[in-house]
């Protein structure tokens, strides 16, 4: 028997992984070498002792540090992507083939606007501006809802960003945002939905929607975003929700800790 095979048998013996024929083989090999199976008992005892050696649990700080690092990295990545997108957009505008067309279009638009402004009565101009503003608002809603249905999470994130930047949201947009918060499969999108909804936290429907969503979420990161958001808007009605999180068996320890901090800040 070669050395490799012998060591394999000995290690398997120590792991209690030998069947009767392999054990017989090992015994006869040891006998040929002038030993017996009992000579391995010291090693066996050592291995058994190693298997029972206790080890302390890592502290909670390890988990906290990891999630803080993850959050920072995610934010940095988002910033980099945003800069890339803007750079790409600017580059595409100034591409040689597009630039003259864009310049002509701007001049014609400006001339058209000037003619319209000088030849239209003031009240009519105001009406037109109001009408255009309403049309733009409804168009934005349509675009936003359509983008929220897109399969790519990046498109849905863009739609949420647009809504946040627009500064106002109709009832139907709020409903779409709440539905995204509760049903979107991507945790990043759900977190972005929280941020967008927080921009409209002056509305009752938004505040109650945020609170209802906390216990429905299965991602600790989304729950943390929601808890932080509810603390930021000083929503005292969130205290019972935080208490339920603390007593929940399913909530992540970090979420529970943050909820405790939240209660201390809100009471």
């Amino acid at each position: 028997m070669n050395k490799d095979k012998l060591y394999e048998l000995i290690l398997d013996y120590l792991d209690d992984n030998l069947d009767s024929s392999q054990l017989g083989l090992l015994k006869s090999e040891l006998k040929n070498m002038g030993h017996n199976i009992n000579d391995l008992s010291a090693l066996q005892k050592l291995v058994d002792e190693m298997d029972t050696m206790p080890i302390p649990e890592p502290s909670e700080q390890m988990s906290k540090s990891f999630y803080a690092m993850l959050e920072q990295q995610s934010n940095e990545q988002e910033e980099v992507e945003l800069v890339d997108r803007i750079t790409e957009f600017i580059r595409s505008i100034f591409q040689a083939s597009h630039f003259p067309r864009l310049a002509y279009a701007s001049i014609i638009l400006f001339i058209g606007w000037g003619i319209g402004f000088w030849f239209t009565p003031q009240s009519a101009v105001e009406n037109q501006i109001n009408q255009m503003s309403q049309e733009m608002q409804s168009m934005r809603e349509v675009v936003m809802v359509a983008m929220m249905d897109k399969p790519l999470a990046s498109d849905r994130l863009k739609a949420l960003q647009m809504t946040r930047e627009s500064g106002n949201a109709t009832e139907s947009i709020i409903q779409t945002l709440l539905s995204t918060l509760n049903n979107d499969p991507d945790a990043n999108v759900r977190m972005a939905a929280v941020e967008t909804l927080l921009a409209f936290a002056n509305q009752d429907v938004v505040r109650s929607g945020l609170k209802e969503s906390v216990l429905q979420q299965n991602s600790p990161l989304v729950q943390l975003t929601l808890v932080d958001g509810l603390i930021a808007i000083q929503d005292k009605a969130a205290i019972p929700v935080f208490e339920r999180l603390i007593s929940s068996n399913n909530a992540h320890q970090l979420v529970k800790d943050r909820s405790r901090e939240g209660i201390n800040k809100l009471i």
């Binding site: 050592l46 190693m50 298997d51 390890m62 990891f66 993850l70 990043n188």
Partner: protein
């Protein structure tokens, strides 16, 4: 419900879904902490090394090809982190670090008063081993890796790894017996 494989998750992290790394952290943080702790005998340092490991996984995520097992790739990085740590301590080598580990064991034994005497002895004996032998024993006995996987991590053959593990066990036994005798005096 079948859980998603480590490789699938890591490939998602690679493609930019960084938050998925949280799943791998939850799966492996205790095991990695155990790996580092058994070598350094220092809880705080082991936690830092786990953190460094995940930072490195994040940094080098583009290098993960998904061909081998994620855990094999992870332990290769873990070994590199240990090697870097021992280089950075600017000491003469692992054995001097071990001297510190002895002190730490003595400190921590106060914290874990109920720990049995023979476990203390075994810990000391393990810390007398050469770094590679200690790593081999930890990877094979505590991290549950197969000899084939250890061979891949250590860039060696399965047969050579078996021989080395057997020798490491023998060395450990000798150190253990010596310490037992010296403590009995």
């Amino acid at each position: 419900m079948e859980s998603i494989s480590d490789n699938t998750i890591m490939l998602k992290v690679k493609s930019g879904d960084l938050n998925k790394l949280g799943i791998l952290f939850e799966r492996y943080n205790r095991m990695l902490f155990g790996f580092f702790y058994r070598i350094t005998s220092n809880r705080e340092l082991s936690e830092d090394l786990v953190q460094n490991l995940f930072i490195r996984i994040m940094k080098y995520r583009k290098n993960f090809r998904g061909e081998g097992k994620f855990s094999t790739w992870m332990y290769t990085i873990a070994r590199n982190i240990l090697a870097d740590h021992f280089k950075q301590t600017k000491r003469k080598g692992f054995n001097i670090e071990i001297t510190d580990a002895h002190e730490l064991i003595n400190d921590e034994s106060i914290e874990f008063e109920l720990e049995e005497e023979k476990h203390q002895l075994l810990k000391k004996a393990m810390n007398c081993l050469e770094k590679e032998k200690l790593e081999l024993l930890i990877l094979s006995r505590y991290q549950g890796l197969k000899y084939r996987e250890i061979a891949e991590i250590m860039n060696s053959s399965e047969g050579a790894i078996r021989v080395k593990i057997f020798r490491a066990l023998n060395d450990l036994r000798e150190h253990y017996l010596k310490l037992e005798k010296s403590e009995a005096l």
